[in-house]
């Protein structure tokens, strides 16, 4: 290596520049006008393959690099808008869906998006059988039959389901990440051992979205580059740079200095701290996550309906939401988060120690000692301490059992908890996702191992009337009637189940004042970057 003589001079010169000249420049840091810089915690990403990705920040990335057949509009979340399919219809038989593909969409490789790509992508997700595959397989697809059920001809994609489901249910599922359409040719060029490009797509993208992935450094950063031609029009932000910033206080400093445009993981303290800053703004979004208690029905006293009801009156919902959870959680007592079709917003329960004591007395229970399992993060620990206190007021002695996320999950799935303080995020933007897990349990035996269902995990044999209504709701054609059914299911669930939904998460995104059009996806979707201007 030849030692560059410049280097020797550069050292002191740089130091001097640092102390004198460069200082004022550093104070007016600003992100490039055509680049969106976001600080977030992205170390949850396990895979970028749409057939496998199932984490929050991975879904954000994929929502901007892939398109689905039908999509949601970031300016009005709710009604479906055309994605890669310009029109779609359901035949009179109630099971045959046809999608007409748009002709102007291209993948990042330049290949046109065809019905063949769409069919292959959905078949692929079913065949790979990764964790989120149930979102598709619940319509009766199996690795064996999927090539007959999902077919392409010309510009038309045809999908045949096994039952006449509610069309809204089917379309909503197609907007989930697993419905992303992958560039077949590109993926197959990277195939190894018949994996349909799985290994390669874990860390690369091959979609038709507004952006493509230029660099990805796990748990560090990723850079998205806008495509020259996007069928919706080239996005205003040519690049999106997402940095992993694990410490909220650091994130806040970066935002205040203008080194980032959006901070996505600030704490309530930070949000309050930036309150008076005119260069910044805070946008609240209700997210889909529900915080709830699960009372294990294998633990004898907890199986008593009176005891369950008593505990529902021993949660200081308002007290927590107005103090240490302020701004980040709102009281929510039903299993469907606000924003979902048929979400119930009634909050019949509040802290009432006397009523709870009376109920416990009716149940003939005294000197109850229980463990409450909780993950070791701050919000949850504080909730657990509040619960320990309020349950204690009614004579229930609560011992906290703290563990890492993976430990706690292991115990819960093995049905070994007593009371678990848990969070649940919907898997796809349809009410069935939560109804299925909170209110269905076809076989309550230990051997059934229905670990994906929360009702099974907490050993609740769901009453037949509730379960039948859940099954009926996925078949209901009329959306309004369907919404009514979910409201009814939630009311019954609220009164009878050993689940105690307490809060819905609110995400507070802090933005530089000049950033417009950012949508974090609400409770039903992931973040949209392509709609941002500044």
């Amino acid at each position: 290596m030849i030692f560059n003589p410049l280097l020797r001079k550069a050292g002191p010169a740089v130091m001097a520049a640092l102390l004198l000249g460069a200082a004022p420049q550093a104070m007016m840091a600003e992100t490039p006008a055509d680049t969106l810089v976001i600080a977030d915690a992205i170390d949850d990403i396990v895979s970028l393959d749409p057939a496998e990705a199932f984490e929050w920040s991975g879904s954000d990335l994929l929502n901007n690099t892939y398109d689905t057949l039908v999509e949601l509009d970031p300016s009005n979340l709710g009604p479906l808008v055309p994605g890669l399919a310009e029109s779609w219809e359901l035949a009179d038989d109630g099971v045959t869906y046809t999608f007409k593909m748009r002709s102007d969409a291209k993948f990042a490789s330049g290949n046109p998006v065809t019905a063949e790509d769409a069919a292959w992508s959905l078949q692929r997700a079913v065949k790979l059988d990764k964790t989120p595959s149930f979102i598709l397989t619940q319509f009766g697809f199996t690795p064996e039959n999927v090539e007959e059920k999902i077919t392409a001809e010309g510009d038309t994609l045809t999908i045949v389901t096994d039952q006449p489901y509610a069309p809204s249910f089917f379309y909503n599922c197609l907007t989930a990440t697993i419905g992303s359409i992958v560039d077949k040719q590109t993926a197959m060029e990277h195939e190894t051992d018949g994996d349909m490009g799985y290994e390669w797509l874990k860390t690369n993208t091959a979609g038709s979205g507004a952006y493509y992935l230029r660099t990805y450094k796990p748990a560090d950063s990723y850079v998205l580059e806008a495509k020259e031609e996007y069928w919706r029009g080239t996005p205003a932000m040519k690049r999106v740079f997402v940095r992993h910033v694990p410490e909220p206080a650091t994130e806040r400093l970066l935002l205040e200095k203008g080194d980032i445009d959006i901070a996505r993981k600030l704490t309530p303290v930070d949000i309050e701290g930036i309150g008076g800053n005119e260069d910044l703004k805070v946008e609240d979004t209700e997210k889909g996550q529900i915080m709830y208690l699960a009372l294990n029905q294998k633990v004898e006293p907890l199986a008593d309906p009176k005891v369950i009801e008593a505990i529902k009156y021993l949660v200081d919902y308002e007290g927590m939401a107005s103090t240490f959870l302020k701004g980040q959680y709102e009281v929510h007592q039903a299993f469907l988060p606000n924003g979902f079709l048929g979400a119930l917003s009634d909050t019949p329960y509040s802290l009432d120690v006397e009523k709870a004591k009376a109920l416990l007395a009716e149940a003939g229970v005294s000197d109850l000692s229980l463990t409450l399992t909780v993950r070791n993060n701050q919000d949850r620990m504080e909730m657990a301490q509040s619960l320990q206190n309020t349950l204690g007021q009614a004579g229930i002695n609560v011992e906290l059992k703290v563990g890492t996320g993976k430990e706690v999950l292991g115990e819960y799935r093995a049905r070994e908890h007593q009371i678990a303080l848990e969070g649940w995020g919907p898997d796809y933007p349809d009410p069935h996702t939560n109804a299925d897990t909170f209110a269905r349990n076809p076989d309550n035996s230990d051997e059934a191992q229905l670990t994906g269902l929360l009702a099974w995990r907490t050993a609740w044999a769901v009453p037949k009337d509730i379960q039948d209504e859940v099954d009926a709701a996925v078949l209901e054609k009329d959306s309004d009637t369907r919404a009514e059914m979910y409201l009814d299911i939630q009311r019954k669930h609220q009164a009878q189940s050993p689940f105690i939904p307490m809060f819905q998460v609110i995400q507070q995104n802090a933005l530089r004042a000049n950033v417009e059009g950012f949508n974090a996806g609400g409770s039903i979707h992931s973040a949209f970057y392509w709609s941002v201007t500044k």
Binding site: M1, N4, L6, A10, V14, L18, A22, A23, P24, A26, M27, A29, T31, P32, T35, V37, A39, D43, V46, S47, F54, E55, D129, K130, T131, S133, F134, T203, T215, K217, P218, A219, D220, S221, V223, R239, F241, R243, H244, V245, P246, E247, A249, T250, L253, L254, E256, K257, D259, I260, G403, T404, K406, E407, L409, G410, R413, Q449, T451, G452
Partner: protein, 353 residues
């Protein structure tokens, strides 16, 4: 050792034997480390399969992933397979990043190496003179000051110091760059114009002649390196002080002084040379500690280094990543030990045998 005093061996042979000895030490150390890490990884109550498949996986998907991870084999078989693969240079894939562990480490270790090296330079450049000054004037205000600074260094949480440093020097004064290794705009310049050679931004940008990137990287590294360097300085100055105090009470020092040798020469040349042998051990240890990666510093400064990587991996039971990281840390320790051995011999003629 005894042998070599009897038989005159060629320097080449001696070097070969030293290298051989080093390799054996390295192999034994690493194997031991791996065994311990492996056992810990298998007894922690965290399920690595869940880390991959997530909550919603069906039992069949769970079992398929378990099988793919090789967790169905008996523990000893798993370990032997692992060591066998490792010998062929295959440390497996990280569960979290889906990347080969080696390429992950090649990405995160240079960040830590760069930071620790500059921090150690800070620590030595300030710590040694401070320790010497304090030792020559025991009880004086200089001594008290050095002790105070050292005490503060020991007792202040690094997390807090890092945040305060950022608030003051980045937030208020704007003297240094913010968290991360580069400004956003330079990040692109760096990725486009600079071919990664070492993974250390300062060196790579200098090699490519991208001086603007170099300057920007320097503004970013100076604060975290300063914070880490402060802790290493606190330790080094305290050790230097006590070594020097001991040395200055030796008879040869008195002799030198009686002979009228200038005091600076007595202290900085004669005494310091003699304390440099134990001092090298202290510095090497402190350097090695920094090279393990400082989780808290890396968190505060959003510095994508080895400490964060191993910690994240540990919490997710990503044992391939943990063991790969452990091997690197272990090898670093052994390597630094060897370097300090070589330095002893250069400095102390008695150690040359």
């Amino acid at each position: 050792m005894a042998e070599s005093t009897l038989i005159e061996t060629s320097p080449l042979l001696r070097t070969a034997r030293q290298v051989g000895g080093f390799l054996v030490t390295l192999a034994v150390t690493l194997l031991g480390l791996l065994a311990v890490t492996f056992v810990i990884g298998r007894v922690v109550p965290i399920d690595p399969v869940l880390a991959v498949v997530g909550e919603r996986a069906t039992t069949a998907q769970y079992e398929a992933a378990r099988e793919a991870l090789g967790l169905n084999e008996p523990l000893l078989t798993q370990f032997l397979i692992y060591v066998g693969d490792a010998l062929r240079g295959d440390f497996g894939r990280s569960l979290l990043t889906s990347q080969p562990v080696l390429s992950d480490i090649a990405r995160v270790f240079p960040a830590t190496l760069e930071l620790s090296t500059i921090a150690t330079i800070f620590g030595v450049a300030l710590g040694v003179p401070a320790g010497v000054l304090a030792a020559t004037r025991p009880g004086s205000w200089v001594d008290q000051l050095v002790r105070l600074i050292g005490l503060a260094g020991y007792s202040m949480p690094i997390f807090w110091l890092g945040l305060i440093g950022l608030l003051v020097f980045y937030g208020n004064l704007g003297w240094v760059g913010g968290p991360g290794r580069l400004d956003t705009s330079y990040q692109f310049t760096f990725e486009l114009d600079v071919t990664p050679v070492t993974g250390m931004i300062l060196i790579d940008s200098a090699l490519a002649g991208a001086w603007d990137v170099f300057a920007n990287a320097l503004t970013h590294i100076i604060l975290p390196a300063g914070v880490l360097g402060y802790y290493s300085m606190a330790y080094i100055s305290r050790m230097t002080r006590s070594f020097m105090m001991n040395e200055l009470s030796q008879e040869y020092v008195t002799t030198a002084r009686v002979k009228g040798m200038p005091e600076w020469r007595v202290v900085w040349v004669h005494a310091l040379r003699n304390v440099s042998v134990p001092l090298i051990t202290v510095i090497a240890l402190s350097y090695a500690n920094l090279l393990e990666g400082s989780v808290l510093t890396e968190t505060v400064f959003a510095w994508p280094g080895l400490g964060l990587y191993i910690t994240n991996a540990l919490f997710s039971a990503d044992m391939n990543a943990v063991m790969g990281g452990t091997v690197i840390v272990g090898a670093t320790f052994v390597l630094l030990n060897m370097i300090s051995d070589v330095l002893y011999k250069l400095i102390d003629p008695r150690a040359r045998t």
